[in-house]
C-alpha cells in the first residue's frame, strides 16, 4: 500500500502534522468521560499514597502492642490476592462482552467478578473482626491505626466497586448496551483494575514487608 493512501491516518501520522489545518473537532464523549475518570483515579491513587506514607512512617510505632509479623496471616492474604486478580480478569472478560454486546457473557463475567469481590471482602472483614476481638483494634497503637485506615480504605473502595458492579448489571438489564451505559461500564472497569493495582501495593508493602519488620 502506498504511503499516500494512509496519510492522515493517526498511526501513519503520529504527530498530527497532516491534520494541522483540518482540526478534527472535539473528542467523542466516551474519550472525554473515560479520561476524566482516569484523572479521578489518579487523584484517588494520590490519596492512597498518603495512607501508604502514614503506614511507612508509623509501622514501627507499636506502643508495646503486636508487630505486623505477629498478626498477619500470609495464607489469607494470598487467597485475597488471587481473588482480586481473578476478578480483574473476569471484569476484563465482562467489558469485552459488553463491547460485543453479548448479554450472557457480560452477566456471567460480572457475576463472577462480584462473587470474587465478596469473597475478598468477607476474608478481610473476618481478619479485622478477629483483630478487634483480640484487643488489637485501630486504637491500640499508631501502627494499627495506620494499618486499619490503609487496608480499610481499600476495602471500602472494593465495597463501593461491588455496589457499582451490581448497578451496572441492573442498568444493562433494564436499558441494554446503550452508549451511556457502555461509558459507565468502561469507567467501572478502570475503577476495578485500579483497585487491583492498589492491592498489589497493599499486599507487598503492608503484609509482605510488614511481616518482616
Amino acid at each position: 500500500m502506498a504511503m499516500t493512501a494512509t496519510y492522515g491516518h493517526a498511526h501513519a501520522d503520529p504527530h498530527h502534522l497532516g491534520r494541522a489545518i483540518e482540526h478534527p473537532g472535539p473528542a467523542p464523549k466516551r474519550i472525554v468521560t473515560a479520561y476524566g475518570f482516569w484523572v479521578f483515579l489518579l487523584s484517588d491513587i494520590v490519596m492512597f499514597s498518603c495512607f501508604f506514607a502514614a503506614y511507612a512512617v508509623l509501622v514501627g510505632q507499636t506502643a508495646d502492642g503486636p508487630k505486623g509479623s505477629e498478626i498477619f496471616e500470609q495464607r489469607n492474604v494470598a487467597i485475597e490476592t488471587v481473588c482480586l486478580l481473578l476478578s480483574s480478569f473476569t471484569c476484563g472478560m465482562a467489558s469485552i462482552a459488553a463491547d460485543v454486546r453479548n448479554r450472557l457473557w457480560f452477566y456471567l463475567g460480572m457475576a463472577v467478578t462480584c462473587l470474587l469481590g465478596l469473597i475478598f471482602l468477607s476474608i478481610e472483614f473476618r481478619e479485622f473482626a478477629d483483630l478487634v476481638s483480640r484487643g488489637y483494634g485501630p486504637s491500640r497503637s499508631a501502627f494499627l491505626t495506620a494499618f486499619f485506615s490503609l487496608v480499610g480504605c481499600h476495602g471500602l473502595h472494593v465495597t463501593a466497586g461491588v455496589l457499582w458492579l451490581l448497578t451496572m448489571m441492573a442498568q444493562v438489564f433494564a436499558k441494554g448496551f446503550r452508549a451511556d451505559i457502555l461509558r459507565r461500564m468502561m469507567c467501572f472497569a478502570l475503577f476495578w483494575h485500579a483497585l487491583d493495582i492498589i492491592w498489589v501495593a497493599v499486599f507487598s508493602v503492608v503484609y509482605l514487608l510488614g511481616s518482616g519488620v
Partner: protein
C-alpha cells in the same frame, strides 16, 4: 459528538481502550496479563518467606516485584501503551506518579531524619 460511531483513526484512545478489536486477541491479552500477574504474585509470596536468598535483599526484591506487577496490570488490563494516541493518558499517569513519589518518598525521608535527630520522648519530658 458522536457516541455510537467511534473512529480510532480520528482521535486518541480513551484510558483502558485497546487498539485491537478482535475478541480473540483481546482475551489472549487478558490471559497473558493474568498469567504474568499470578507468576509475579507467587514469586513475591515465595521470596517473603524463604531462607534461600540473602535476607537483606528481600525487601528490595518485594518492591521490585510489586512495581513489575503494577506495570503488568497497566499494560495488560488498563492497556496503557507508548503509542502516540495514548500520550494524554501516559502524561496524566506520569504526573500522578510524580505526586505519589513526592508524598511517600518525602514523608519517609523526612520522618526518618526527624526520628534520628530528636531525643526520645522521655528525655524531652525530663528536660522540661
Amino acid at each position: 459528538m458522536s457516541d455510537l460511531t467511534h473512529h480510532p483513526v480520528q482521535h486518541d484512545l480513551a484510558p483502558g481502550e485497546e487498539e485491537i478489536h478482535s475478541v480473540g486477541e483481546r482475551i489472549v491479552g487478558y490471559v497473558v496479563g493474568l498469567g504474568l500477574a499470578l507468576l509475579l504474585t507467587a514469586t513475591s509470596f515465595f521470596i517473603a518467606g524463604t531462607n534461600l536468598v540473602w535476607q537483606p535483599s528481600i525487601p528490595i526484591a518485594i518492591i521490585v516485584l510489586a512495581i513489575a506487577q503494577m506495570g503488568v496490570h497497566l499494560v495488560f488490563f488498563l492497556h496503557i501503551t507508548t503509542g502516540p494516541d495514548n500520550t494524554n493518558n501516559v502524561l496524566a499517569l506520569a504526573f500522578g506518579l510524580l505526586i505519589v513519589f513526592l508524598v511517600v518518598g518525602g514523608s519517609v525521608w523526612i520522618m526518618s531524619h526527624l526520628n534520628e535527630n530528636m531525643p526520645a520522648m522521655d528525655q524531652i519530658m525530663r528536660m522540661q
